[in-house]
Amino acid sequence: MSAHNDGDRAEPESVDLSDPKLSRFEVYKEGLRRDDIEIIHYEPRFPKPGTKAEKRMERIVGGFFLLSGLFATAFVVAYIWWPWEYDGPATWRDPETWYTPVLGATLGLSLLLFAVGVLTWAKKLLPIEELVQDRHDGGSSPDDRRIAEATVDGLVEDMGLKRRPFLVKAALLGAAPLGLAAVAPLGALLKDPGDMLTVTGWNAERYNDGKPIRLMLKDGAMVRPDMVSVGGQITAFPAIDHGATNQFPTSPILLIHLRDEDAQILHGNLYPMYQDVDALWGNFVAYSKICTHVGCPTSLYEQQSQRLLCPCHQSQFNVVDNAAPVFGPATRHLPILPMTVDDEGFFIATSDFLVPPGPAFWNRPSLPEEDEK
């Protein structure tokens, strides 16, 4: 509330409110005066009450309210009786597809009409008025300030804050750990990230008793080379418990079957670390599907331009060059999952990723190969 002070005003201007002859308007004006308000302009919108124009305006405003009520009723009726339950594919002829639009149209119109009614009332029927009020900007009066100062000084004095420095220091020293104690329970949220960012579901020691992990489709089928034709790609997961679920968010890979000529180029470009472990199998390569930028699935495989595109921030990776970034904000290649085919003809991972897949973090172990491109 603004800092009004009735006492500030010079008394002589005030009218005697006990005077029975005062009109209602004069009493009201006295109220305005006490709030430092002055009327600049005040005139009824319709000086002569009951004219045709006034009646017309009343009818218009009333009409808005009544129409609003009509639409509100329509909304309630539609809400209760309009068929609404979704039952399979629908065309525009099915009434249930119109449920939401009908609700919106009726409720919207009802609110809009009531709004227009109220606003028209305010604009066309209320008196035209212009008033001016004193702002009383700035701080308090010098008196108030002095009194406040003295009061606070007295407080400080009473408590002896200046005379008893030991107490102040002791209180501060005691309060600091108390504050810590108040936020300490938030520590329950903390959890050691451990190696969650570096170890994936392809780690055979941890997730498959050291046995090589097969590549699996989402529906659980194991991946064989003949399942991906030339120029095709398939999303695969580690064949472990819950391997295809969100429990292993950095594990999904994109298994690509390259054309002969493209595979030759990739073999030529392969980073030494991948050559050492023989990471490819024939013309197949398995790239991590998790973007090295911020972790979206990099799954737009363009089989002619041999690019992998991330739809989130448009990083592009060269499929025939270790999936090194060639465009966009990503800075590191998509790690290759070293894999081969086992005796039964299924793909298996020969180890976990050689570098952690997914977005970077400050202590991410990086290898010199990554700086090659």
């Binding site: 629908a90 066309k124 991906v228 034709s229 363009e302 739809p311």
Partner: protein, 269 residues
């Protein structure tokens, strides 16, 4: 204009598909008796060229040979070899107006006005198939799709397709000017052909990766969400572009309406 033309075309195709399906006994049966013997005959006596392929060759030699070369062997720098691509690829490319290509570009754009009729595309397909076999669309595709499980198709769609064509099938941008097209108004055959043959930059989804039944599930899902189901959430779906058009709408519709209202409220009366 283009959109409404496309919609009309979609309607026509959908109606056509419906007619074929409901009149399966009459029409499909009749077609079988006419086409199937010829088809099998061709397979049995490999190498012999049938009448359709001859007609296809005539068309090929006038419209395709410049880029794809003599006997579909391809021309370096212009067009790939067509040997072994099969009739599915040919019919997809020709029926969607992508081929013949008007000019070399990032990718062949589809067109609402294919140069060849569907019959001519079949002839061309027959010719290419004669040159080197390849993938064909199963004859009972519509029945397969009708029997497909939409839910399973949805799972497959999200794993394999949504990254390029979008959750709502509206298409999306690829690198360097290429794009994955919208799936609205696309026929079952075209969807099947596209998966089977991997046109342009699209990866191939051969039958050993997605079985014909899985493809049918997928097609059933795409047709459901893109062509069959009406958006339940309003009169306008804002092109299903997601937050970008929603953001535009709140400023162009909501904010604009309310700004005009503030002018009215505070205006002198």
């Amino acid at each position: 204009m283009a959109a409404s033309a496309k919609r009309r075309r979609g309607w026509r195709k959908r109606l056509g598909a419906l007619a074929r399906f409901t009149g399966a006994l009459v029409i499909v049966g009749g077609l079988y008796s006419v086409f199937s013997p010829g088809l099998y005959a061709q397979e049995s006596e490999a190498g012999a060229i049938d009448a359709d392929a001859v007609k296809g060759q005539e068309l090929y030699d006038t419209s395709c040979i410049t880029c794809h070369g003599d006997n579909g062997e391809g021309v370096e720098g212009r067009g790939p070899s067509l040997i072994g691509v099969g009739s599915a690829a040919v019919e997809f490319q020709v029926n969607t107006g992508r081929m013949p290509m008007a000019a070399q570009g990032a990718q062949a754009p589809d067109s609402d006005y294919p140069v060849f009729t569907e019959e001519e595309a079949e002839w061309l397909g027959a010719y290419i198939e004669y040159l080197g076999g390849g993938d064909v669309v199963p004859d009972d595709l519509d029945a397969l799709v009708a029997a497909g499980t939409v839910g399973e198709g949805g799972e497959l769609y999200r794993v394999n397709c949504s990254s390029c064509h979008g959750f709502s099938g509206g298409g999306g941008a690829l690198s360097s000017g290429a794009h994955a097209p919208s799936l609205s108004g696309v026929t079952n055959e075209e969807l099947y052909q596209a998966m089977l043959t991997g046109p342009q930059n699209m990866p191939v989804f051969a039958d050993n990766q997605l079985t014909p039944e899985q493809k049918a599930d997928l097609i059933a899902y795409v047709q459901f969400i893109v062509n069959d189901d009406r958006d339940p959430g309003g009169v306008f779906n804002l092109g299903r572009f997601g937050p970008s058009t929603e953001g535009l709408a709140i400023f162009l519709v909501g904010m604009t309406a309310l700004l005009l209202t503030t002018l009215w409220i505070a205006g002198k009366s």
